[in-house]
C-alpha cells in the first residue's frame, strides 16, 4: 500500500536532518582546531533544527487538519540562543588561549581583553 504523500515528505525531511546532524558530528570530530570546530555544531542548531521543525509542522498539520505552528517557537528560541552561546564560548576560548601564551591574533582595538 502506498503511503500518503505527506508522510513521504516527512520521512525524507527526517532522513535529511539525520544526515545533516551526522555531518555536524563528523565536523566536531575531524576539524583540527577549536576555532574550526566551533563552526560544526551550528549545522545542527540551524539547518537540522529547521528541517525537523518543517517536518513536524507538516505532520501535525496533516494529522490535525488545521495549521499547527507551535513548534515554530523552538526555532525562534534556538536562533536567539545559539549565536549567543557561540560568541561567549569563542571569547572564552580566545581569553584562555591568550592567557596560556598562544600565538593568536591580537585584539582589534588597543585595549586588553
Amino acid at each position: 500500500m502506498m503511503a500518503p504523500f505527506s508522510e513521504m515528505v516527512v520521512a525524507l525531511l527526517l532522513l535529511a536532518s539525520g544526515v545533516v546532524v551526522l555531518a555536524a558530528a563528523l565536523g566536531l570530530w575531524r576539524l583540527p582546531d577549536f576555532f574550526a570546530r566551533l563552526h560544526a555544531p551550528a549545522l545542527a542548531s540551524t539547518l537540522a533544527a529547521w528541517i525537523v521543525t518543517l517536518a513536524s509542522i507538516i505532520h501535525f498539520t496533516v494529522r490535525a487538519g488545521e495549521l499547527s505552528l507551535h513548534v515554530w517557537l523552538i526555532i525562534i528560541i534556538l536562533s536567539i540562543t545559539a549565536p549567543v552561546t557561540t560568541i561567549v564560548l569563542a571569547r572564552a576560548a580566545l581569553f584562555r588561549r591568550r592567557l596560556a601564551g598562544d600565538d593568536l591574533p591580537p585584539p582589534l582595538s588597543g585595549h586588553e581583553v
Binding site: V10, S17, G18, T53, A55, F60, V84, T85
Partner: protein, 92 residues
C-alpha cells in the same frame, strides 16, 4: 503511521545516536575545556532534535514541551559554563 515513516524515524534516530556517540567521544577526548563545553552544547541540541522526532513518532505534543525546556536549559548551562571558563566565576 505508515511503515515507511516508521522506518524513516528509526533510521533518523539511529543517525542521531551515531552523531551523539561522536559528540560524546569529543566530550571525553576534547583537548581543552572549551571543546568539552562545545560538545555538551551539541549533545543538548541533538537531544532536542530527538525529542521533536519522538513527538512525530508518538503523535504527542508533550514531547514538544520537553524539547522547549531542553533548548532553554541547554542555553543557560552552556552560557554558565562559558562564563566560568572566562572568569572562574559564574556570577560576579
Amino acid at each position: 503511521m505508515s511503515p515507511l515513516l516508521n522506518l524513516a524515524i528509526t533510521v533518523t534516530l539511529g543517525l542521531y545516536a551515531l552523531a551523539m556517540g561522536i559528540g560524546l567521544l569529543r566530550l571525553l577526548r576534547g583537548p581543552s575545556a572549551q571543546d568539552r563545553v562545545l560538545a555538551l552544547d551539541f549533545l543538548y541540541v541533538v537531544g532536542m532534535l530527538v525529542m521533536l522526532v519522538l513527538a512525530i513518532r508518538y503523535d504527542s505534543s508533550m514531547y514538544f514541551e520537553g524539547a522547549f525546556l531542553m533548548v532553554l536549559f541547554g542555553f543557560v548551562g552552556s552560557l554558565a559554563m562559558a562564563k566560568f571558563l572566562l572568569r572562574g566565576e559564574v556570577i560576579e
